[in-house]
């Protein structure tokens, strides 16, 4: 089921004779249970796009539909949107986690009773139980971020917008937020996620969209994109540099040798090469795999 559909979004800012196109042409689709990693360098238009989707910035042209409703025309669309914007600054610092959850639940349209029930459930689920009476300003950054995500889920939205959800978190908190994002998507919610940590995007997303200078330059399923950019070469890493005799034999097969690393582009010769190497100790052996960082850079560095 399609939860988010954004078509030809465009936004230009004008100030004192300066014209700046933040978003030139962005179209996105997101289905239930899907995680879309929305990547791009600083100033590429990620945040403007997310805010146009949330109804916080009015697009100059194009339209947004969330669960079949336009957030710029129909406030009921907002019931389907949860958002954690700009890091962890989405909470009242002078209130406790439970007070924040209850307040924002009612603000997003829940009755008091339902808000209380949801807060209790989310506090348990997000493992904030022993901090329920601690003021938000005294929580760790990781806890604050978990609470901000919990707050965004209070009204049970179908679409969750997460702007840099792991920024500034330590390793443990990052793992915990990653686990939560996977769980939330598994419940059937659509998640649009921006991040500069490409390894996290690679781990969490089903699909990747890269935006550069206000335009989407590529949008593909994550695995497909990585496959396209990976070639069929094998890399063998030895413990010690290869001796001259074996090196010349392997080179004769068509592989390349650089000290203790052997690159085999033709899979047909793999086993012949391994025969030559026997019984030398092998440290690692595997297919050469592109990662999202290489792919991302290849798109944003294009002239």
């Amino acid at each position: 089921m399609l939860i988010l559909e954004a078509q030809n979004l465009q936004k230009t800012y004008r100030s004192r004779r300066q014209v700046f196109t933040a978003v030139a042409d962005v179209s996105l689709k997101l289905a239930a249970g899907e995680v879309l990693a929305f990547l791009g360098p600083n100033g590429a238009g990620k945040t403007t796009t997310i805010k146009m989707i949330a109804g916080l910035i009015l697009p100059d042209s194009g339209w947004v539909m969330v669960a079949g409703r336009n957030p710029h025309q129909d406030v009921r669309a907002l019931r389907a949107i949860g958002a954690v914007l700009e890091g962890n600054r989405n909470l009242y610092w002078r209130l406790t986690p439970i007070e924040n959850l209850e307040y924002f639940g009612v603000l997003r349209g829940l009755s008091r009773r339902v808000a209380q029930q949801h807060s209790r459930d989310l506090i348990e689920r997000f493992e904030l139980g022993d901090k329920r009476q601690t003021l938000v300003q005294n929580l760790s950054r990781g806890m604050q971020q978990k609470l901000a995500i919990a707050v965004a889920l209070m009204h049970d939205p179908q679409l969750l917008l997460l702007d840099e959800p792991t920024l500034g978190l330590d390793v443990e908190a990052t793992e915990s937020v990653k686990r939560l994002i996977r769980e939330i998507a598994a419940e059937g919610r659509a998640i649009l996620l921006t991040t500069h940590q490409l390894d996290i995007a690679e781990e969490l997303s089903n699909r990747v969209a890269v935006i550069n200078q206000g335009e989407i330059v590529v949008e593909e399923p994550t695995a497909e994109l990585i496959r396209q950019f990976s070639d069929s070469a094998y890399l063998i890493q030895l413990e010690q540099p290869l001796d001259t005799l074996r090196a010349s034999k392997i080179t004769a097969l068509g592989a390349t040798v650089e000290l203790q690393q052997i690159t085999i582009r033709d899979p047909e010769i793999l086993y012949s090469a391994l025969e030559i190497l026997r019984p030398l100790p092998i440290v690692t052996m595997g297919r050469q795999q592109a990662n999202l960082t290489d792919i991302f850079l290849s798109f944003v560095r294009k002239p």
């Binding site: 406030v75 949107i81 958002a83 890091g87 989405n90 603000l107």
Partner: protein, 257 residues
């Protein structure tokens, strides 16, 4: 709507109770400033001088001014603080309109603000020996003043939303407000009298001074003017706030950066 009102009330109350030192500071500070002014005026006038109902009138004006500052701090100051802490955009994601949220928020904290300002009033009365009356007829002009006060606070909220940094404007504006609450528009005559009716909150404040300080009966004609004045400023303030919200959504600057 009732749920949101109760949630706003709880939010205001919890924060006020948790940071009661700020509250006590506000009450004591506001009282001391007035007492300082009172002592210096007494010094200039000489020890034998009797202020009479004029002192009472000034006290009413001063406390209304303090109330206005609390209300403005709630709406315009609150808005600015929320744009700094990042909660502002979350308010605009609510299915309730932003004006509704801020209005309910303001009404929720009104009960607290009225209590605080009654405290300030009683303290000032105790310090200066003023004797003010509290007849039930003070309620309609108080309503007129509050309507105007909320209108002005929403207008300043619109300014806060547009400019983000309005601390300096607010400080200067506060002194302009003293004028509105202390100027004796009820004694003006001729065309100045009409001008007095147009000033925000001034006719209501004049009635309150009459009722509370001079023991006058309520002039229903002026009350109608005061209520109309309050309603116009209130609606204009809310409309201006809605306009600022739409403008900021168009300019992409709702959050504040």
């Amino acid at each position: 709507m009732l749920s949101l009102f109760l949630a706003e009330f709880k939010r205001s109350f919890v924060q006020l109770r948790r940071y009661s030192s700020e509250l006590i500071g506000g009450v004591v500070g506001t009282t001391i400033i007035f007492y300082g002014l009172f002592l210096s005026t007494q010094y200039i006038a000489g020890p034998g001088f009797q202020f009479g109902t004029r002192l009472d009138s000034i006290i009413v004006g001063y406390v209304l001014w303090a109330l206005m500052l609390f209300i403005m701090g709630d709406i315009a100051g609150g808005l600015q603080q929320e744009s700094r802490t990042g909660t502002l955009e979350q308010l605009f994601l609510s299915p309730y309109s932003a004006s509704t949220v801020f209005l309910l928020r303001a009404i929720a904290s009104l009960i607290l603000n009225l209590t605080i300002n009654l405290g300030i009033l009683l303290l000032i009365m105790a310090l200066t020996g003023s004797r003010l009356a509290f007849p039930p007829t003070l309620l309609p002009p108080l309503l007129a003043v509050l309507l105007g006060a909320y209108g002005i606070a929403f207008a300043m909220g619109a300014l806060a939303l547009t400019l983000k940094q309005v601390q300096q404007v607010l400080s200067v504006f506060q002194f302009g407000l003293i004028f509105l609450f202390t100027v004796p528009v009820e004694s003006w005559t001729g065309s100045a009298r009409f001008l007095g009716w147009l000033l925000p909150m001034a006719p209501g404040a004049g009635l309150l001074r009459g009722v509370m300080a001079q023991g006058a009966a309520l002039d229903w004609g002026i009350l109608a003017v005061a209520l109309l004045n309050g309603a116009v400023y209130f609606l204009a303030g809310v409309a201006l706030f809605g306009w600022a919200e739409r403008r900021m959504k168009r300019l992409g600057k709702l959050g504040g950066y």
